[in-house]
């Protein structure tokens, strides 16, 4: 009973508080509490979206991501530390464990201070490579802000990112298999260490759109990890600054909007897919739902319900144009790979379905839906079913096969002939008188 109550309370809390689909406890790791005010607009924005913010310094003893093996926070926002590392409770291992347990992380780096080795070794594990120079910054001599960085050219002005591929949903518009760059540097940017004496054009590690200023990683368990190249972009002063590109007009930045989208995505407010009911059954009426066993050559129906979380509620998920949600019917390799079509739509979800005939091969098959797209949480569903052979009474009867009539006729003619022969034989038996004569002879 108490359990029930607790559950109920949890549900209520969730309903009241969390806008994120995966909890509202957000830990902000910030070394210097005085810098908190630098980002006040961001905090206000996050709090207005229902997050419980906790501020901790990496040096603090109280800081712990886990308690009794469970996550204490749902999300983590790490602002660049000035010290060498993130302290004993935020080692790369802890951070990976946090991701392993479905926590989401937004990591901001800064050009002002050198990136700590702990962070770079963490990023290398995730296949994100920082410049070998710890304090390199991206500069661009064509798209800089003439107002604030007329000399250094290290304040970059970028257009809002478009979508990654035409068939990928764009969450950041108006924005490796697991890794997706959200914001790429303009083609004219390059990495440059301002502290080095001689700027050398040959020593550039990456240029142009090889540089990712904001990259996102979604682990296999859909935990999200975003690296923001510049923490300054989140500062209040850039939320509503006016900038001017060389030769351009003076405009105001949209950093606030971008930060909102970025945090919303990272903390699973957008791009979260949820699989509802999965049903498969024979294509007859009143068939048993989700049977464990099918027969070869059965007409089968498969249905999957998918919804998408958009900021505060689940909405029906629509597959982007040019993309499709696929169903595989596999044993070792797919025997069917079918596009699932939307069948019907409920208030919060779309039901996709397909109908097919099970292959003429018995074995242990599985219905698989494997939908992994950048910026969307992964759908990986696998439902095992057995496909059996024909039972002894499920074959066509012999008389129903026209080719077998010859044999059946042969069979019955032999039986009939034999019976006729017996009758004739018995009828034409010699009389007992003849026998008697033989005996006397």
């Amino acid at each position: 009973m108490r359990w029930c109550l607790a559950l109920l309370l949890c549900c209520l809390l969730a309903a009241v508080n969390a806008l994120s689909s995966s909890g509202s406890r957000l830990l902000v790791v910030q070394e210097d509490s005085t810098e908190k005010s630098l980002y006040s607009k961001l905090w206000a924005d996050l709090e207005s979206r229902g997050y419980d913010l906790t501020f901790e310094s990496p040096k603090s003893d109280k800081l712990a991501l886990f308690e009794h093996g469970e996550r204490v926070y749902d999300h983590l926002l790490i602002l660049p530390p000035k010290a060498k590392g993130l302290g004993p409770s935020l080692t790369p291992k802890h951070i990976l464990d946090f991701l392993q347990k479905d926590g989401n992380i937004l990591l901001a780096l800064s050009g002002k201070s050198a990136t700590s080795s702990a962070i770079s070794s963490l990023l290398i594990e995730l296949d994100i490579h920082l410049s070998t120079d710890r304090s390199a910054v991206a500069v661009d001599h064509f798209n800089y802000d003439t107002i604030s960085a007329a000399e250094k050219h290290d304040v970059l002005l970028l257009q809002r990112p478009g979508s990654l591929r035409p068939d990928v949903k764009a969450f950041f518009d108006a924005t490796p298999p697991l890794l997706a760059p959200i914001l790429r540097a303009p083609v004219t940017a390059y990495g440059y260490n301002p502290k080095e004496e001689i700027p050398s054009a040959e020593d550039i590690q990456a240029t142009g759109s090889q540089l990712s200023l904001v990259s996102a990683l979604q682990a296999r368990n859909s935990a999200r990890f975003t690296v923001l190249g510049s923490a300054e972009a989140l500062e209040d002063q850039w939320f509503s600054a006016s900038v001017k590109a060389p030769g351009g007009k003076k405009t105001s930045t949209v950093n606030q909007e971008f930060a909102k989208q970025l945090t919303a995505w990272t903390f699973k407010e957008t791009g979260v897919l949820k699989v509802g009911k999965i049903q498969h059954h024979l294509a007859t009426e009143h068939a048993e739902r989700n049977p464990k066993i099918y027969r070869v050559k059965n007409e089968t129906v498969f249905e999957i319900e998918v919804s998408e979380y958009a900021y505060d509620k689940y909405v029906p998920f629509e597959v982007p144009a040019g993309d499709e949600l696929q169903l595989e019917f596999t044993m070792l390799s797919p025997f069917h790979r079918l596009a699932l079509q939307p069948v019907r739509r409920t208030e919060t979800s779309t039901v996709y379905g397909a109908q097919f005939v099970t292959p003429d091969q018995h074995g242990i098959f599985s219905f698989r839906v494997n939908y992994k797209r950048p910026f969307l949480t992964n759908i990986e569903e696998k439902h095992e079913v057995t496909v059996r052979h024909f039972a002894h009474d499920e074959y066509t009867r012999s008389w129903a096969i026209s080719g077998g009539w010859v044999w059946i006729a042969g069979l019955w003619s032999v039986i009939g002939g034999f019976l006729a022969f017996v009758v004739v034989w018995l009828y034409s038996a010699p009389s007992s008188a003849a026998n008697a004569i033989k005996k006397t002879q």
Partner: protein, 742 residues
């Protein structure tokens, strides 16, 4: 007074009744002895199913009892051969399971609440009692004296060659098949003696039962036609033979085709062609016999010659044409390996890898048959002396079975019945002569005359030879001693060699007390209790049935070795590097890998000792990827210590066997007690699997297959990171820039 009452019991019609009663009593005693000598394993260990195949039979029986006959018939087993599954109902011999199912239901009907396991455990001993009865009947057909039958019954009851396959718990097809074999032969002898359709039909009925119970039915299928053929060649054609053979063949073939696993084999498979051929031949002979009664001798001779050439020519070309076009299946591999013992080793490693398919060692004959083996030729000789139709049968059977028993260890089982028959014939011949034979009438009369005429002492017939009490006493005494020694030997062999369940191992502690090693069951129950219901277990095929039966988890391969490629896949996964194995494991949905490792205890039947077979079998399918040579050192040695080849040390099997094994020993002193070698100091590094369970004596080791890394890393990198090693940066530090001047 006592004398007269004994006389009343032993003479006349009441004497016949008394002897009948005695015979029944003796047979019952023999049956009881046969059953009880097979109970050693239950007493020593417990009522448990033994070895490997019986576990499948047991599981199938449980399925039959739970789901009824028809769903058993149509059983698609999705817990073996993952992900292929097995059409089990159509690929097994159902006789055994149906028999115990029927017994179970009868007992239930009689309101005796018995567990199906106990029915299965005790089925083989029960049927061995019946075998003794059938043996009595069969031998009784060979000799007029009932003593031969009783002796044969006693022999088959306790002979180790048969006990080896029928101790309590050895719930295998052979458990009932030997009874059926002997009884079918009895019915066949009966049929050919009487020329009766009834006996022929009964033979066919029991032949059908035999077909449903054991693949060894092919032995009957070939032996009976051979018997008929030999009799035909001896010119002993008779209408009795015609009637019994045609009845048996027609009904028996129809009956055997009702078993789904056999299906159309009797008319398509080469193994069955001799029966069909003899069936045709006997028609021709009958026809010729018919013609002869109408034709004069000379013309008939000519006709016969032409007909013989014509038919043989036609039959031979027909057979070749049908074999070439594939209508008749070619001889199976097991058949070839019967003729050429090296055939399997070269062509079919999977057959050669089974220990019971190896040629028999000579001492095994004495071990399994004791003094019967040297009475056996004498018995065959006795048969030659009489050489009626049934004795020809014994001779043919002995010749064939002796050869086959020499080729394959397991075929000792088919030799045993005929050895018992022949030995009983020889022994009863001796005993009858020496115990029963009284001084012949002529001699007695002469003696009487001599007494009357009071002639010289030297003129009397001296009481020497087989008529003297001395020779009788010596012969019967020595035979009795032999028989007693036989009983002692049988009991000893049964209790020491054949009563181990091999699921539970027994060893002796230094103080002589018994020490039970129960690692197998420990591990299987761990699987049963700690893994999800459909966790797929990969192991070498030897353990498939046991995992299915005891752990109740799906397996990739098992002892029903119908799919060589699938077995080779498992062999490849075991013998390759982790990087190669892991995709195979993922593709086959493997959750756990189970290996048997005897290094700690000195248990020699472990997977590393079978490893070369895995390599060979997978090399047969992927000669480019797996090479047996790479597992041997340059000097051709199979080593596991630090001299082992890199291929060996990187193979999954090696890693799984020795993972963490070094931690049991002080540094640098790890020993493998099976292969008697010192192991390398550092333990093999395992990346894609993690240890889940190791049994008490390290015999069974179970590993869990890791999921793909959550962050898309290599498993080796992930493991290195977890160990605290830093990843090297991919980019090298370049030197200072140099100004290029051109």
């Amino acid at each position: 007074m006592a004398q007269s009452s004994l006389d009343a019991l032993l003479k006349g019609s009441s004497g016949r009744n008394t002897r009948g009663l005695l015979r029944i009593l003796i047979l019952c005693t023999i049956a009881a002895a046969a059953v009880s000598s097979r109970l050693f394993s239950v007493i020593r260990f417990e009522s448990i199913i033994h070895e490997f195949d019986p576990w499948f039979n047991f599981r199938a029986t449980k399925y039959l009892v739970q789901n009824g006959f028809y769903s058993f018939w149509d059983w698609f087993d999705d817990r073996t051969w993952h992900p292929l599954g097995r059409v089990t109902g159509g690929t097994l011999y159902p006789g055994l399971m149906v028999t115990s199912g029927v017994i179970y239901h009868i007992l239930r009907f009689l309101t005796i609440p018995v567990d199906i396991r106990n029915v299965c455990v005790l089925l083989a001993p029960g049927f061995s009692g019946l075998t003794a009865l059938a043996m009595y009947l069969l031998t009784g057909e060979m000799a007029p004296s009932p003593s031969a039958g009783l002796l044969a019954a006693a022999f088959i009851g306790i002979v180790p060659g048969y006990i080896s396959r029928s101790v309590a718990g050895s719930y295998d097809n052979e458990a009932i098949a030997i009874f059926l074999l002997v009884f079918t032969f009895f019915l066949w002898i009966k049929a050919i003696k009487n020329g009766s359709i009834m006996w022929g039909a009964l033979t066919a009925l029991f032949y059908g039962y035999m077909v449903s119970a054991w693949g060894g039915y092919v032995f009957i299928t070939n032996l009976i036609p051979l018997h008929v053929f030999v009799l035909l060649c001896m010119g002993r054609y008779s209408s009795r033979m015609y009637i019994s053979y045609t009845t048996w063949y027609a009904l028996g073939t129809l009956g055997s085709m009702q078993i789904p696993f056999v299906g159309f084999l009797p008319i398509r498979n080469s193994d069955h062609m001799s029966a069909l051929g003899v069936f045709g031949l006997i028609q021709l002979v009958a026809f010729a016999d018919f013609i002869r009664s109408f034709l004069p001798g000379k013309q008939f001779q000519k006709l016969l010659t032409y007909m013989v050439f014509l038919t043989f020519g036609l039959a031979f070309t027909g057979l070749i044409a049908l074999s070439a076009t594939g209508v008749i299946a070619p001889w199976s591999g097991r058949f070839y390996s019967l003729w050429d013992t090296n055939y399997a080793k070269i062509h079919i490693p999977i057959i050669a890898s089974v220990s019971e398919h190896q040629p028999t060692a000579w001492p095994a004959f004495f071990f399994d048959l004791n003094f019967l083996i040297w009475l056996f030729p004498a018995g065959v000789f006795v048969c030659f002396q009489k050489l009626k139709d049934e004795h020809v049968f014994v001779v043919i059977y002995s010749v064939l079975a002796s050869y086959f028993a020499g080729v394959m260890v397991r075929l000792m089982l088919t030799l045993t019945p005929i050895v018992c028959v022949a030995a009983a014939l020889a022994l009863s011949c001796i005993l009858d002569n020496f115990l029963v034979m009284s001084t012949p009438k002529g001699a007695a009369q002469a003696k009487a005359n001599g007494n009357e005429s009071k002639s010289l002492r030297s003129g009397r017939n001296p009481l020497v030879g087989i008529y003297s009490y001395f020779s009788k006493a010596v012969v019967t005494g020595s035979v009795t001693i032999y028989l007693l020694m036989f009983v002692a030997h049988c009991t000893w062999v049964t209790s020491n060699a054949y009563s181990s369940p091999s699921v539970v191992l027994a060893s002796r502690l230094p103080d002589g007390s018994q020490f039970i090693i129960d690692d197998y069951r420990e591990a299987y129950y761990w699987l049963r209790q700690n893994t999800p219901d459909n966790a797929k277990i990969m192991s070498w095929w030897d353990y498939g049935y046991q995992i299915g039966g005891m752990a109740d988890r799906p397996t990739l391969v098992d002892n029903n070795t119908w799919n060589n490629t699938h077995i080779a896949t498992v062999g490849k996964a075991m013998s390759s590097r982790e990087e190669v194995s892991y995709p195979i494991l993922r593709q086959h949905d493997v959750d756990y890998v189970l290996v048997v490792f005897g290094g700690l205890l000195g248990y020699s039947g472990d997977d590393l000792n079978k490893f070369l077979w895995m390599v060979r079998i997978s090399e047969g399918i992927w000669p480019d990827e797996v090479s047996e040579r790479a597992f041997f050192t340059a000097r051709g040695e199979y080593r596991v210590d630090d001299q082992a080849t890199p291929t060996m040390r990187n193979s999954l099997m090696y890693k799984l066997s020795y993972h963490n094994y070094q931690s049991l020993f002080p540094p640098g002193q790890a020993m493998d007690r099976v292969r008697g070698s010192k192991l390398p100091t550092e333990t093999p590094q395992l990346n894609t699997l993690e240890e889940a369970f190791t049994s008490e004596n390290w015999i069974i080791r179970i590993y869990k297959v890791k999921d793909l890394d959550n962050f898309g890393r290599d498993h080796s990198n992930a493991v290195a990171f977890d160990k605290g090693l830093k990843k090297k940066r991919a980019a090298k530090k370049r030197g200072p820039p140099i100004l290029r001047t051109e």
